[in-house]
Amino acid sequence: RIFPDTSSIPPGLFPNNATAAAWDNFKKLSGCRAGQKLDGLNKLKQYFHDFGYIPNTFANFTDDFDDALESALKTYQQNFNLNVTGELDEQTLSQLIKPRCGNADIVNGTTAMNSGKWTPPFNTTSHFHTVGH
C-alpha cells in the first residue's frame, strides 16, 4: 500500500485507528524480571532471537524469564542507550515495540553497536610506561 501523501489514505482503512502490530502484546509483560514465568515471554524470546540477541543454542523458547533472556535484555539496553537493568521496564518496552528494520543488530554473535564497544578501564597513555627493545 503506497500512498502519494497522507491525505490519500482512505478513511476507515484502520477502524478506530487500530494497528495489527504483533509487538503491542509485549506491553502486558511490563515489569517482568528474572525468575518469573509469564505467558508471552516465549514471543519476546523469539523477537530477541530474530534480531541476534539470543543465539540458536538457546532457541528452545519457554515462558520462563531465564538467564538467556536477561542477558539479551541487557545487551539490547546497551545497544539502545537505555538503563541496563535486565528487566522489562517501561523505557525498554516502549523501545521494543517501535517499528524497525528487519536486519539483525547482532550477526553471527558479533555486534559493533554499543554492546560490542570495548572501553579501556584506564587511560593507557598516562599509566603505561614502556621501553622499546
Binding site: F3, D5, A21, P99, M113
Partner: protein, 192 residues
C-alpha cells in the same frame, strides 16, 4: 557506525550501480522517485552512482515490496513490526513490507493514521545496509534500527557519513566535513 561481519563492500570495479524495481509491484513514477532521492543522499558523500534500469534480473540492486513469507527466510509481519530488510554487499536484495501504509510525500507527522510510514526514511536506511553498514547505536543516525511511524528521518548524520566513507572514501565533490574518527587508533607514542 558498524559494518557487517567481515566488512563486505562493493568491489572497486563496482562504483556505478544499477537498481531496478520488481515489475509485479507496478510502482508509480512518484514512488520510484523516492528511491532516486534516497540513493542521491548516499552518492553525495561517496564516489558511487546509482542509476535505474528496467532489467530487474541484471540490476545490481533489486527492490521489491512483498508480504509475509516471500522466500528469503525472513517473512514480513504485517502492519508495523519489521518494515523492510536489505542484504549486505554484493547481494543487492532490498525488500519492503508490502503491508505497511507507505507514504511517499507530504508532512507525515500530520497523518491521522498512526501506522503511516515514511517511505524515503526507510529507503535511506536500507540503502545503508546495501552499501555495507550495519546498525548504529547513535540515535540521530540513519542506521539506528528503529523509526516510529509518522516520522521522517532522511538526512545522513555524521556517524553515517563517517561509516560509509570508511568503506568507499569521500566523494571529491562533497564539501561537508570529512571523516575524522576511526575504529582503529594509531599509536603515535613511539612505544611498542
Amino acid at each position: 557506525y558498524t559494518f557487517f561481519p567481515g566488512s563486505p563492500r562493493w568491489p572497486d570495479s563496482k562504483r556505478d550501480l544499477t537498481y531496478a524495481f520488481w515489475p509485479g509491484n507496478n510502482l508509480t513514477t512518484e514512488a520510484k522517485s523516492v528511491f532516486t532521492r534516497a540513493f542521491d543522499r548516499w552518492s553525495t558523500v561517496i564516489p558511487m552512482t546509482f542509476a535505474e534500469t528496467d532489467s530487474f534480473t541484471i540490476a545490481d540492486i533489486r527492490i521489491g515490496f512483498f508480504s509475509g513469507d516471500h522466500g528469503d527466510g525472513e517473512p514480513f509481519d504485517g502492519v508495523l513490526g519489521t518494515l523492510a530488510h536489505a542484504f549486505s554487499p554484493p547481494s543487492g536484495r532490498f525488500h519492503l513490507d508490502g503491508d505497511e501504509n507507505w507514504v511517499v510525500s507530504g508532512d507525515i507527522s500530520d497523518s491521522s493514521i498512526i501506522s503511516a510510514v515514511d517511505l524515503e526514511s526507510v529507503a535511506v536506511h536500507e540503502i545503508g545496509h546495501l552499501l555495507g553498514l550495519g546498525h548504529s547505536s547513535v540515535e540521530d543516525a540513519i542506521m539506528y534500527p528503529t523509526i516510529p511511524s509518522r516520522t521522517r528521518k532522511v538526512e545522513l548524520a555524521q556517524d553515517d557519513i563517517d561509516g560509509v566513507q570508511q568503506l568507499y572514501g569521500k566523494n571529491p565533490n562533497y564539501n561537508g566535513s570529512s571523516s575524522t574518527s576511526s575504529v582503529q587508533e594509531s599509536d603515535t607514542s613511539g612505544a611498542h
